[in-house]
């Protein structure tokens, strides 16, 4: 062991022993107990919502034909996230003192960054394996094949995808690979996956991972090719990670520590802002279109001005999330009911980007408090422009689905669901950012179980109302199965949904600058 390695190992040991000395063993056991209960509940609810109705041979055949490409698209998106993270100096998140003291010392950087790289890979193995195994378990409730192979191959594919993503990010950061090349690589990978879906093939890099994931349904040796590629990326990443930019590492170190604090305090708006800074995603200095000046509707006009400055990456993200929402709704229509949750969550996430003008008002409470109008009334007026933007963005994938499929059924369902769901998304996103960070002091007198429930509810209720607003898709599906018209079925729950949205609007109208 070299002197440098011994010094780094000693530091890690000293810090670990200090941390362990501060650990309360009973508190840790209690946390483990709560975690086991939470995972159990998620598994039970997930499995029960998927149901136990096995798909028929025709559907199974379709899963085998189209599944690798569809799973491959998801894999490609994850890999693209990794590549983009690498281009911005990721995926390693180092502490500021580590950058200042260790990376500026005469210790070889590849040696210093080896342990953080291994830690990153370990985390990706655990996360990827866990998510893959969970997906396999949930799929086993519908697919008429053995459960164990589905779980095992799902876990393998998750591990491979996680390792490949972290490895690719480290290669890009360490080499370093120029951003334009990363953009081209990302586009090629995305285009390959889309081409696979359209052509019914499975040869793009993502689709190879898809083949591996579905080996539990039918073993596909081609999928195994993903394993050496992932290992090569990881080895290459660890080999070149010493070349990671110090400037990026410092920027990430500062932002990530703030991000952790914001996540701990459930301060969603700060999380969003810090994520954008991490992604170097700033408003355009020149708007896409100039909004003409005028005296009427100043808040609406200000909203349009803000939206006109959204950077391209955010516009693409909004359309992509709306497309995910519509695709998940189509999946729900075809029989996988839990996808309605994905649909609602994607729409809520898209709305977080388009409510930027309202969020800016919340970011500057002093300015907000200074206007000669009711604070809540001002927030309400800020919802119009984002709603318009979200409806337009959602109409794009709806139009595509209508053009590709049964236009009558699609438009009948969308006609009853789209506007209420978009309204719920805008209100839900506004509610999320208008919720003040929790005050740990105020929770000290409560039972731990009560605190946990309270924290979950605070975060979960805004996206939950979007999911509720998407539920009429199920009613439209039921009507179509009985040969009835979709539109009346989708609109029959409009009144309760409107009452729910009205309640959220009232809650939002009571927000005041001093509350935040």
């Amino acid at each position: 062991m070299s002197v440098d390695t011994a010094v780094l190992a000693d530091l890690a040991r000293a810090r670990r022993s200090r941390r362990l000395a501060d650990v309360d063993i009973f508190e840790k056991l209690y946390q483990a107990y709560l975690s086991v209960i939470a995972v159990g509940v998620v598994l039970a609810v997930g499995a029960s919502t998927i149901g136990d109705d096995r798909v028929g041979p025709a559907t199974l055949d379709r899963v085998l034909r189209e599944g690798p490409a569809v799973v491959g698209l998801v894999a490609a998106l994850v890999l693209i996230i990794g590549l983009r993270s690498g281009a911005r100096g990721g995926p390693l998140t180092l502490e500021a003192p580590f950058v200042t003291h260790v990376l500026l010392s005469p210790v070889p950087r590849d040696l210093a960054l080896r342990e953080p790289s291994f830690r990153q890979l370990r985390q990706m193995v655990l996360a990827g394996g866990g998510i893959g195994a969970l997906a396999g378990l949930l799929a086993s409730h519908r697919l008429p094949v053995d459960t164990l192979p589905l779980i095992a191959w799902g876990a393998v594919a998750g591990v491979v995808l996680g390792v490949a993503t972290a490895g690719a990010a480290m290669v890009v950061a360490g080499f370093p690979v120029a951003k334009p090349i990363v953009h081209v690589l990302s586009l090629v990978m995305l285009a390959g996956s889309v081409a696979d879906i359209v052509a019914g093939t499975a040869w793009s890099p993502g689709s190879i991972v898809g083949r591996l994931a579905l080996s539990g349904v039918h073993f596909d040796p081609v999928g195994l090719a993903a394993i050496p590629v992932a290992v090569a990326l990881a080895v290459g990443g660890v080999a070149v990670v010493g070349g990671t930019s110090i400037e990026s590492a410092i920027r990430r170190a500062g932002l990530v520590s703030q991000l952790r604090l914001a996540v701990t305090r459930q301060d969603l708006r700060t999380v969003v802002l810090l994520q954008r800074r991490l992604a170097q995603d700033a408003a355009r200095s020149r708007p896409w279109v100039r909004i003409p000046a005028g005296r009427r509707l100043p808040v609406f006009r200000r909203g349009l001005q803000g939206l006109a400055r959204l950077p391209l990456v955010r516009l693409v993200r909004v359309v992509a999330l709306c497309s995910v929402a519509v695709a998940a709704a189509v999946g729900t229509w075809r029989g996988t009911s839990p996808l309605i949750i994905v649909s609602g969550l994607a729409l809520w996430a898209a709305a977080l980007d388009v409510i930027e003008p309202l969020a800016q008002e919340l970011d500057h409470p002093d300015r907000w408090a200074g206007y000669p109008v009711n604070p809540g009334d001002l927030l309400g007026r800020h919802l119009t422009a984002p709603l318009l933007a979200l409806v337009l963005a959602t109409c794009i994938p709806v139009g595509v689905v209508a053009a590709l499929g049964d236009a009558g059924k699609v438009l009948g369902t969308a006609g009853g669901v789209l506007i209420p769901a978009c309204m719920a998304a805008v209100l839900g996103a506004a509610a999320s950012v208008a919720t003040a960070p929790f005050d740990p002091g105020a929770l000290q007198m409560q039972m731990p179980e009560a605190i946990g429930t309270q924290l979950i509810v605070r975060v979960a209720w805004p996206p939950a109302i979007v999911i509720v607003a998407c539920l009429p898709v199920l009613a439209a599906r039921g009507a179509a199965a009985k040969g009835l018209s979709e539109f009346p079925a989708a609109t029959q729950y409009l009144l309760p949904i409107c009452i729910l949205l009205g309640a959220v609007s009232m809650w939002l109208a009571r927000r005041k600058p001093e509350v935040l």
């Binding site: 000293a14 810090r15 003291h101 005469p106 110090i246």
Partner: protein
């Protein structure tokens, strides 16, 4: 300009563009051994950018920096450079003495304890040697940061705003320590508005809007003019 044949710090056409704003116009600078260079200028003038580039914390848009002839960021340059940032950067879970131990070992310093003890006493940190700096005031954290920067051997010492948060005795001690370091032949580049240091600096470089507007003698009057005071 120094008369030394081979400068310890050499910047050639060094520039930094942050994309939305210019950090430093192309700058050429050479600092010889044993010089105490005072970097002054109003806020946003480019002092921290220049120091960050010389420390290897920032990547230049153009030009290069050499430390004792080695490219900044290389092992040799890192071994020769000690950096004290404007904001103390310390581990939350190491005591003052553990920090010193770690930094000394990282920099391959064998017999560091006597100097460590002396710095602890002179900076007034002796009673806090086993305490965690995460619970310190800004001033005490700054002193810890100074201790770590001065503990390791260096040919070039880069310090950004070292007087922020220090009490009056702490400021006097720092001035004394810097004088001793310079007397030992170390090149010191310090960004500060401190007039006491202006009397002791061998040279002053003034920056405004990312451009060098003065490179010559240091005096209180010059510092006052360059900082707009």
């Amino acid at each position: 300009m120094t008369d030394t044949a081979e400068p310890v710090l050499e910047a050639k056409g060094l520039a930094k563009d942050y994309g939305d704003q210019l950090g430093l116009e192309p700058t050429t600078l050479a600092v010889g051994a044993g010089e105490l260079l005072l970097l002054v200028g109003p806020n946003g003038a480019g002092k921290s950018t220049l120091l960050g580039l010389c420390a290897g914390l920032l990547e230049p848009t153009a030009g290069e920096v050499l430390v004792s002839g080695a490219e900044v960021g290389s092992l040799a340059a890192r071994a020769a450079t000690s950096v004290i940032p404007d904001n103390p950067v310390l581990y939350d879970d190491l005591s003052v003495w553990e920090h010193a131990q770690y930094i000394a070992r990282l920099n391959h310093v064998e017999d560091w304890e006597p100097l460590g003890e002396e710095l602890l006493h002179r900076l007034g940190l002796a009673p806090r040697r086993d305490d965690l700096p995460s619970r310190f005031s800004r001033g005490l954290r700054q002193k810890t940061s100074l201790l770590l920067g001065l503990l390791r051997p260096a040919e070039l010492l880069l310090i950004d705003e070292p007087f922020v948060g220090l009490d009056t005795p702490g400021q006097s001690t720092l001035v004394e320590l810097l004088e001793e370091v310079v007397a030992a032949g170390v090149t010191v580049v310090v960004s500060s508005h401190q007039y006491d240091l202006a009397d002791r600096a061998s040279r002053c470089v003034g920056l405004r809007d990312g451009e060098v507007v003065h490179d010559g003698d240091a005096s209180r009057e010059i510092v006052r003019q360059l900082t707009g005071g």
